[in-house]
């Protein structure tokens, strides 16, 4: 995609996304636009210079000169960060999402920086513990999610030491609904306690499944962070809102076939019970977005299968 010509009048370059076209072609009424959002994917707010020597008129000079790319038709590639409406103008802090790896060892990533999803029992057996019998961090049991307690946990709140965590997070800023997106060919989201599969809201044309998890209806996944104390187990330093925790169950295709591993994957040595052994690996991301607050993070995940 090229840049849009910004030498004259402001123009608006609009396209249907691939998912939009898919829904339009389906003809079942699912193509219905009911709301809009504003995005600022290209904006780097670090360019906003609050101390510009020439005065406030120059604060955003560089931001406004940002060249803008043409619209992408890939629905996943657009509107990655959105503008937020909050009925208060005097906020100095906004909530964010943060991967909680400090709660205990069960929420830590693997030493490779990824969460590793073992897609079958053989791989689970290999990677559950190391040669010394010590549990390996960041291993998610993809065939039998109930086995082991490792999970992914994302916390929401004001990550600042300027405000005490004892203060209640403004209800305006408490996230109540999360959108989790992951490749539906690779796996599914399940609850951390009893491995209940979350309901898929829709699967787009790129096989990305979207799960909408609401605190009111999905208490297995979304819960309030009750801790209001300074704690080494909390990723959010200031006032806290909610958290989402889940595990990943590998897909039947990954479990029973090597096709996707051979097509979109690689081979890596991963250290487990037998030492460093070869595994087939597919790297992916699980994206967690706060539906109301708009903040999102990508969690790196590898689906692994003992070769």
């Amino acid at each position: 995609m090229g840049f849009l010509d910004n030498s004259g009048d402001i123009i608006l370059d609009a396209v249907l996304t691939d998912t939009g076209r898919m829904r339009l072609a389906r003809g079942d009424g699912s193509f219905k636009i009911v709301k809009f959002a504003l995005g600022d994917d290209e904006i780097n707010y670090e360019l906003y210079n609050k101390v510009h020597a020439s005065g406030s008129a120059y604060y955003d000079l560089e931001v406004l000169q940002t060249p803008v790319l043409e619209a992408f038709t890939d629905n996943a590639a657009s509107m990655k960060s959105k503008l937020v409406s909050i009925p208060r103008n005097n906020l100095l802090y906004l909530p964010m999402l943060k991967l909680n790896e400090v709660y205990d060892v069960s929420t830590k990533r693997h030493t490779t920086g990824y969460f590793l999803v073992a897609v079958n029992t053989t791989t689970e057996d290999e990677l559950e513990v190391d040669a010394s019998g010590v549990s390996i961090n960041g291993i998610l049991m993809g065939e039998s999610p109930g086995r082991g307690g490792n999970r992914i946990r994302v916390d929401q709140g004001l990550d600042t030491t300027a405000i005490s965590p004892g203060r209640t997070l403004d209800p305006l800023l408490v996230e109540t609904q999360y959108m989790v997106e992951m490749d539906n060919r690779l796996g599914h989201i399940v609850s951390k306690d009893d491995a209940i599969r979350a309901a898929i809201s829709f699967v787009d044309d790129d096989s990305i499944a979207t799960y909408n998890l609401v605190r009111r209806d999905n208490s297995d996944f979304v819960t309030e962070i009750s801790s209001t104390a300074f704690s080494a187990q909390q990723a959010i330093a200031g006032p806290r809102g909610t958290k989402i925790a889940f595990k990943v169950q590998s897909s039947l295709e990954l479990n029973t076939s090597d096709y996707l591993f051979d097509t979109i994957g690689t081979t890596e040595d991963i250290t487990g019970k037998s030492g460093a052994t070869s595994h087939k690996v597919i790297s992916s991301n699980i994206r967690v977005t706060g539906v109301n607050t708009g903040y999102r993070i990508d969690i790196p995940v590898k689906f692994v299968k003992k070769a």
Partner: protein, 397 residues
Amino acid sequence: MATVYKNLLSNDVANTRTLLHEAIPITGSIVSGTYGYAATAIGSERNIKTYGHGMFESVYDYPYLSSSANQIFDITTGYAATSGLSGSSNTQNAKKINIYNQMAQYLVGYDHTGSIKKFKMPDNNTEMLECYFVPFSRLLTKDEIKKGSFTFEVGVSGSAEAAAKKIFIQDGLLNYFGDRIKITDTSGSTGYHVDSPAGEYGVLYATQSLVSVPAPAGLMRANTALPVGLLYYQAGVMVLSASIFQRAGTPNTGLLNNTTFPDYSAANTADMPRVTIAGDTSTVGFEAASTGSTIGNLADGLRNRIYNISFNNTTELNSTIYFCRASHSDFNYSSNPTYLTGSQIRVKTRAADTPVAYFTSVGLYSADNELLAVAKLSEPLRKDPTNEVTLRVRLDY
């Protein structure tokens, strides 16, 4: 509660219909010339595709074996079974009749008995029993040809070469564009007809375009418009009466039969393919070509006489306009990761500072938060509590 979406209300959505026109010029050199040269036989040009069945030929804008070539129109010809030219000993007699009937049933339809009607001039009910058909590709015509915009200019000078080949071509030695007629649908914008099953159609009129040899006063000299065919706007098909060419042996026949029609060519060569000439008793002309030549050869004849084609096409755009209104209290913060540094808003120093955000795109969403359409601004726009923005996003279908 914070939110990143704003619902569109009923008065935020409007539907419009727009007709978009493009000028389509097709020069004769593309149709015959650019990809044909002395060593290339007529009909073997690289942008001309012929078929084993021999029922039509296709004209491309580029050598058709290239993937970047586009088919621009086809040419075929045929006559009715009741035509005086029809005869079982004719070359491709059945196929010429089949072509005529196929085009007639599609463009003219059936009478009350279920029989295929003939092409007729709506002004005087004159039947057109021998016709050229030029269907233009949808790539060019889009939804329809704009009424009143069509021009088809052909050369009508002749050469002796054509006699031997029984086709209306020139061997390149003589300028067969020295005399030209221009065929237009001049009345189309105000006087079209609607009784065709294939949509609206207008009458094509021939006028002189270029006359090289001064001739006695006559219809063409006076630039009088003579009806010579029909143009089906939605179907994108030109039906051209073969009577624009002389008919050998039976002069003054055909649609252009007119005793005052000028003999503007002094040569009056026997095989000259030109508009009907009063008193012409030549033995070789359209009649001989039509009966003795293949459809491909006849198509080559017309194609090599095309000087220029131009028209405006029409695309009907049905649009939905979404007015995305961001009021002063909307969208003043961002979820962009660079917007925060340790949860603190980067563009503010104190809580009392005015929040500000910049946006470059507008996303249109379904109820289940799926991004269905996206629009990008050519430059970032500032949003803060002191301004309101209405973005007009138009989706065309």
